[in-house]
Each structure stands twice: as structure tokens, then as C-alpha cells.
Amino acid sequence: MNDYSRDEMMTIAAARMLWDGCVCFVGIGLPSAACNLARLTHAPRLVLIYESGTIGAQPTVLPLSIGDGELAETAACVVPLPEIFSDYLQAGRIDVGFLGAAQIDRHGNLNSTVIGPYSSPRTRLPGAGGAPEIAAHARQTFVVMKASPRSFVTALDFRTSGGYFPGRSDSGARGAGPTVVVTDVGILKPLAGDGELVLTATYPGIPAAEARAAIGWPLALAGEVETIAAPTALELETLRAVAARTAAAHCEPIKLPI
């Protein structure tokens, strides 16, 4: 299997990190694809929680929004959103929280709020949503972002979600923080100590030099940089089948309710 895209490799690499029975707080897009791929392959008892309040969702097609009806219909239960944030997330019942952002710095801090000054932004981004408290309270977080010097930056314009900020250990954050950053050119993990992200693995055919060029700070390499195994036939087939079902479902015309 040589014929796969970097997005597919990235999704599959993220899926492999999830274990059977893991309780996962899922976001839309690539995290949702990775979690459902894991559920359909090696982790059938993975528990998917979407912030809309659906616990144990088992969607057959990937949702476009965080609150598609598909999630409610396939979930074990649906609870009010305040309960998800206070009684599940804040109470420490989430094993893995997925995060993405517009910018990340070398300590795994994230910006999804503004580019430019807060009071007069050049680009107003959607904002925090669930991210700051996922970053603080999930037992660990997985960050998934495509690498580019514009998004992997030396200084954030705004800190929306705390990684190892510095000062995480005295901050009241209960979770361990970002234990892995999955990109399309390789995998970054924090060094013990100050939590600086270093390159720990690349993908087949992507040299470490290319990964370093995609990161906006001088990216250090781990003592040993692994090469992640290429996607298996089962992983690719499962991922593509989900994508095909999703595309077919999303282009079905909706009749106006009149």
C-alpha cells in the first residue's frame, strides 16, 4: 500500500494511539475521522463523547457539525451540555481530548481566538468553544494539526488553550496536557522538563529535514526518530469507506420542511 495521502497517514497515525475502552472527547473533522476509524478497527469499545452531549455515539457517517442527528440516534444517551463540561470533563472522566487550532507554540499552547491584537484582530477566529477546559482537564490531550510555519509559531497571538504554558504544574490544570502532536509530516512529543515539543517520528518517505522545515521554530529531534509504519490495507479501506458513506450522505438533498 503505497498510494495514500498525507491526510490519511495523519488520521491513521492518530487512530492508532487510541486504545480499546478509551473515553474520548471528540471534535469535528480529522479527530472525528480518527476516533471512528479506531472504533471500526482495533478499538471497538472506544467511547466517543461529543460536546453536544452525546455519550457513546457510534455514527455510521461522520457528522458535519458537532450536533448532527446521527450522533444522538446512535449514542447510548444524550445529556445536557452543562453536564458534559462539569460532570464528565471537569470531573476528570475523559481519558483523551482531541484539540486542533490555528496556531501552536513550542510548548503545545494553542490559539483559536484571533490573529492580531484581540481588540482589533486581523482575523477573527471562532474562539474557545470547549478547548480551554479540554486542555486543562482531559487526562491527556492529542493535538492534530497540519504543519506549516504559519501555524507552528514561535509566539502565539493569543493563548486560548494551555499546553505547558510555562507554569502548567501550578495552574490548577488536572490533566497531563498535550502528550502528542500529530501533524502531516511527523509526530511531535514534549520533552520531560519544560515540555518543549520535539520530533519523535516521521512517516515513510518524509525526511526529518522536511518536517523541520514545516515548523516555525528550530525543531529539535528526539534522540531516536522512529518511522511510523505505512497504513495497512484494512486501515485505508475502513477510512475510505467511512469517507465515501459520509460524502454520499451529505449530498443527499434535504426536503424543506413545508
Binding site: L81, F85, Q90, R124, G130, E133, I258
Partner: protein, 283 residues
Amino acid sequence: MTQFVPLAEAIARHVPDGASIALEGFTHLIPFAAGHELIRQRRQHLHLIRMTPDLIYDQLIGVGAARRLTFSWGGNPGVGSLHRLRDAVERGWPRPLELDEHSHAGMAAAYRAGAARLPFGVLRGYIGNDLPAMNPNIRSIRCPYTSENLATVPALNPDVTILHAQRADRQGNIAIEGIVGAQREAALAATMLLVTVEEIVEQLPPAMNGLLLPHFVVGCVSHCPGGAWPSYAQGRYARDNDFYLRWDDISRDRGRFSEWISRHVLGTTDHHGFLESLRRAAT
């Protein structure tokens, strides 16, 4: 006594210019028909409150109806930006918009406090986050028992909360199925609760653990089938994901947005007319 009135009358009676209003529903059951009626009646200077402004507040902001926005995530879900919200924040068009920005957890705590008529909500929140430096509403308190430092947010008590639901009965009880978001908390936090419904039935069955808002907290019920479109009503009609994708184009350009509002919202008299005009445009 719950009043049963047409939506236009409910809005005319209960939502004055300058009101603080929460139109809740997390992706599901978003009260679009009510949002459009606010535009038709040309409400001004509103304080809009909603966790996810979504297309409904993009439209109200784009027509200049809002002075202030309390929110926690302002994107088009799964698609990208809310262009009218961005235009207001980045360029002050059609008028500047004050932001009272939170995280989901913070806003959920604020609604819960409002529903319980407590002065503030408390959470382990905004840790390592720059919002408290920008928003003076986000403060902290020392726990009197453990001395832990905890974040606080002032209670949200909207003048008016508007919801869409599947069913009401003749007494005014409201039954909601599916994803509920913060609908319950926003309803109980409000001074006045207006609800649009898909259907009015003689009597609802006992709700057990299902979400039911009892008639004595419901101010007005308006029968409004399809009132959540382009969001959805579980068991009735699906989310129109294609429209959410198309909104990206419609809303990107000021002229195209204004033309869409003029034609489909201001150019129609009610929600049925709005849906009819979209159907005609599609054929």
C-alpha cells in the same frame, strides 16, 4: 397562563429594542423562524446571547440588529467562518459589536447560575487562557473550604429566551427530544420564555427522564412548523448541511448577504412564506 399566539405577535409583545435575548439550541432546534421575525420587525441594539452564534446570529449581526454578543464559539460548524460576525468584529460593519467572550464551560456555568437565580457560576476554567485579561466579567474566587482558586462568571439572566421544540400541549408544557445543549438552563434563566413548536397536541405523555419544560415557566407558545430550518428537529427533518455550506458563499459578500435577507426574510411575511420563497428560488 401560557399564551398561545402567532410568532409575530409574541415577538412584538415581548422583545423590545435593546433587550438581552438568548436563542438557544446547540446545532439542533435552533429557533431560526424567531430570528427571522426579529429581523422583519427591525429590532435594534439587541444584546445577543448564545453559545454558538451560528447562522442565526450571523444574520442578526449582518443586518445591524446587535450591539453586544455573549458567546463561546463563533464559527459555521464544520464549514469555517461566520463572515458577518467577522465583518462586524474586524471592520465594524454594519456597526461595531461588543464582545463578551467565554468558553463553553464558562457559559454553561453562567446559564446554570442564572437558572438557579444565583449571582455567579463557578468552575475550574480559563486555566492558561488569555480571555480573563480581555473580559472583565471573568473573575476568580478563593474557595472558602479548600482555598483553591476558582474561575467565576456572572449569571446569565436574559430578558427573553427563545427556543424551538418538537411539541407543546394545550396547557403549554414543552417536550424536547434529542440534543438539548443548554436549552433547559437558558429557558429557566430567562425572565420571559417564548417557544416555537413543530406541533401542538392535546396532551403530552408523562416525560419520565425526557426533557419537559412545565407550562408555568413558559410565557408564549407559537405554532411554527419547520421553525428550526436549516438546523433540524430530531424525528421531523434533518439538518440541511448543504445550506450551511452554501451560507459560506451567501454571507461572504455584503451585497449578496443583504440581497438574500431582503428577498427571503424581509420580502416574506412569516416562516411559511420564507420557506416557500426558498423553494421557489431552488426550482
